[in-house]
Amino acid sequence: MTSSRLPRGGRVERSKSVRFTFDGKAYSGHPGDTLASALLASGITLFGRSFKYHRPRGVFAAGSDEPNALVTVLSGDVREPNVRATELEIHDGLVTQSQNRFPSLDHDFMAINQLAGPLFSAGFYYKTFMGPAIGPLRGTRFWMFCEKFIRRAAGLGKAGTAPDPDRYERMNAWCDVLVVGSGPAGLIAAEAAAGTGARVIIAEERPLPGGSLLASAETIDGRDPSVWAREKAAALAAMPNVRFLTRTSVWGYYDGNVLTAIEHVSDFKPNRTKGQPRQRHWIIRTGKTILATGAFERPMVFPGNDCPGVMLADAVRRFALEYGVAAGSNVTLFTNNDSAYEAARALSLAGVNIVAIVDVRADVSGACRDIATAANAELLTGHAVTGTHAGKTLSSITVQHFNAETCRVSGAPREIRTDCLGVSGGWSPAIHLASQAGGKPEWDEDLQAFLPPEPNQNWVVTGAAAGYMDTISVLSDAATKGSAKSRLILPPVEAPMLDASPAPVFQIEPSAKSQKAFVDFQHDVTADDVRLAYREGFHSVEHLKRYTTLGMATDQGKTSNVPGLAIMADARGISIPEAGTTRFRPPFTPVSFGALAGERYGDLRPHRLTPMHDWHLANGAKMYEAGLWHRPMIYGSHGETVEQAYVREARAVRQSVGIVDVSTLGKIDIQGPDAAELLDRVYTNMFSTLPVGKARYGLMLREDGLAFDDGTTWRLGETQFLMTTTTANAGPVMQHLEYYLDCIWPELRVHLTSVTDVWAGTAVAGPKARALLEACVTGTKVDNDTLPFMGIVHSKIEGVPVMVCRLSFSGELAYEVYCGSGYGTRVWEALLTAGKPFDVMPYGLEALGTLRIEKGHVTGAEIDGRASAHDLHLDWMLSKKKPFIGSAMLGREGLKDENRLSLVGLVSLDNQAITGGSHIVTDARPREPADSFGHVTAACYSPALGKYIALALVKHGTSMIGNRAFATDLLRGRHCPVEIVSHHMYDPEGSRMHG
């Protein structure tokens, strides 16, 4: 046993125990433990295998910066990989697994990768997956075969395949001040801001407020700082203008002071209350942001620095003070700055044995010496750690003389027996969010670290994140940054006089024979990889990052960023600020897809239902989703195929009468003295001449002259029109009209309102349609004189006011009956009742499509954004008497090109279906890629013609009529001989609908 629970200390509830498993073995810990602290307390120091080399790895940090101790959490069939053991709170029944090892953590076959070290160096993927350039395997797919195995060996946790049963939510928040972090700086800044009455949100990543105060041996106000922090936080949380969020990690900083955060609402609990989400995704819009995000301790890069037992000095302290866990029984510290001495003091007070302090500096202050003496630790100044000896955990280290000026190692190695090495390479302010916001970080010589940039949005940085490393200056900085008006009286702080400025030593360069020195633990990037990248010409930090993958793992380089830059700067012979740093990008910590998707999927995404929806379901409709709408596809009878059903429905329309729900058509109310003028400008044809009580079919173009949308528009009054659009284009057409009224023609007095939801629409089509209406419409006649083609009447059905317009999409005698949506089902049922003597049949979208294909009527499949009016044989609608949107561009060359595709019909010659999307070719079995000269836009079986037919857009369309070709579908392997015919395949004279 190397690590163990201390007899006292920490904030875990020692009276209670929590049971969990790790790699199938049962362990116990206490409430308040993380998986890392509980396993360390149980003597476990080996947590996982590394990314490329499968090297044994232990816990390295104690929080969100952890690169090594990643585990998979299992819950039923669901697996969540790459969870940081240092953040994972244990609960009864928690099941966890180590990662990237086979068959087990202790005996890992892939550890053989360590022997192949040079093979996996920087740029490995780029070099390897190009395939061999010479030799017998050149040009073969051999490397593809190998890639599978190599990729399997390298990696982190495996993602699960089971659907995530958990619930996630989104929360919108607005506030005056957002404080990120609740360490000493965050608490005081929040107190100052809240005192002004501002609405304040405080987001703390960890379960408890206090940040660095949770593991401090100082005193604030004469008390343990963690107690002071708890009381301060409780007082803040009780204020009505403050919202205090714990377990909430702010991970993104966006334009306009919009920040995103993940709140872990219940994933640390064994059971959840009903409706409680696992995680909540906060989108916080704030007036001002106070970044009190603290600082991350950084490692030193030295040979053998990745074995279990080597960790950050601050992590060793935090395990002892926060969790009452000694990370080793004989701890050594290795540092280039004073903060490790504060750690030594705290550890010693907590009862952890300190063997030695190895300091690269030639001399240290009296305060440091005093601490070393008090801790009974050997002080080795002017020394460095040059090697480690470890099996599954550290057993000893090698130290040698070290000159911090020249960075040269000298003298004979000396071995020190130790089972835990706490390393401190100085501190890097957590500037991630400020960097995301777009500022350029500035290098500070004293701290040897990047400080946050000048604000480019309304934010301030305070505390350690701003480079203040002692508690007294943190508190006073925070009070001023919290509010300029702050008159807070700051509490007294007792702390030793230490200096956080480190010696500028980042690496102990390995000799030829020494062990690997790691920079990025999670991606297994070594100091040699960085130097190799330099030698191979990847000098810029952005290239370094991409070539070596340094800083690209799930920890986003929290511990590796500065050491990596320092080594590159050293290799190039320039300073670190000259080398520069990469910009941090969201997310600061990993974010689950579930949390981002929130409630916007499955049943909870928006579904749009017509007023007759329930009737359709109750009457056997098979629905499909068209955009957000649910529409009947067919009304199936048992044993019928989809094709049999739509053929039956379409035949009924041609022979007698059918009704179809057309409520989904876009409907826009257009009112005002200039309504007709607007329509003349947006439609290609004339609407100002349309009499009241009549409808007209209209075509709209885009400004570039291509077809945009079509539909009928009804003149309901001198200054009022009801425009219908295709279902899919309802929104775009509305926007199009609004754009012209707002931005181009503000002088037109026209108001637009979307009324799609106001009206339920039913089309009644077939030779018996008029007879059906006569049986139910009251208050008006519906004969040819009263209701001619494109005429509108207002009347009632079963007492419900309706508008009836005679227009036809099916090519039959047909009417559209509109009533208020709240009466939609009632009118629908009345029409069915009235049609009973004629065997009226409800029909779905498939039959609707069949009828229109037979007639050659176009929809969105043909008005596809590339087709012109001419291509669709709609030239007759282009008025020559007036300009309209798109008219100026009609004459351009591209639209006159005779090679354009135009609309034709196709008839299958082998009596089998033509598949939608097929290409039109001349050869029966075309080579790949085929010389396509057109494509099928819609296909069906036509009961009226007794053939399989289709509409297609074909080069030289009209002149091809009468020719034979093939509709070929390489994906489905269908090659159908077809004859090209006119798109008017049924009743080309239109005698049926005018009848």
């Binding site: 754009y739 707002d742 931005c743």
Partner: protein
């Protein structure tokens, strides 16, 4: 991103629809100069620095706005109703 709608107040960018370059001027409807129309339909300026754009507050008051925005920092310096500007007002 937040756009401060002159009617609705500050709203999240999810409520807005980008409607393009607001510096173009539509040619006279009766003009049939292909170059002028081609420039209007296809040419867009992409300045570094301040730019004027149309944003439709589609998820709010449904007014088109002219937003003046710095393309390098994304900072918005002014927002006005497009209709007011099109009627001869200034942003």
């Amino acid at each position: 991103m937040i756009i401060k709608c002159p009617y609705c107040g500050p709203r999240d960018v999810i409520e807005f629809t980008y409607q393009g370059d607001a510096t173009r001027k539509r040619p006279e409807p009766l003009s049939n100069d292909p170059d002028v129309w081609n420039a209007y339909v296809y040419d867009r300026s992409n300045p570094s620095g301040l730019h004027r754009e149309f944003w439709l507050h589609s998820g709010g008051c449904r007014q088109h706005l002219v937003v003046t925005r710095d393309m390098t920092t994304h900072a918005i310096s002014s927002v006005a109703f497009a209709r007011d500007i099109a009627s001869g007002g200034q942003a």
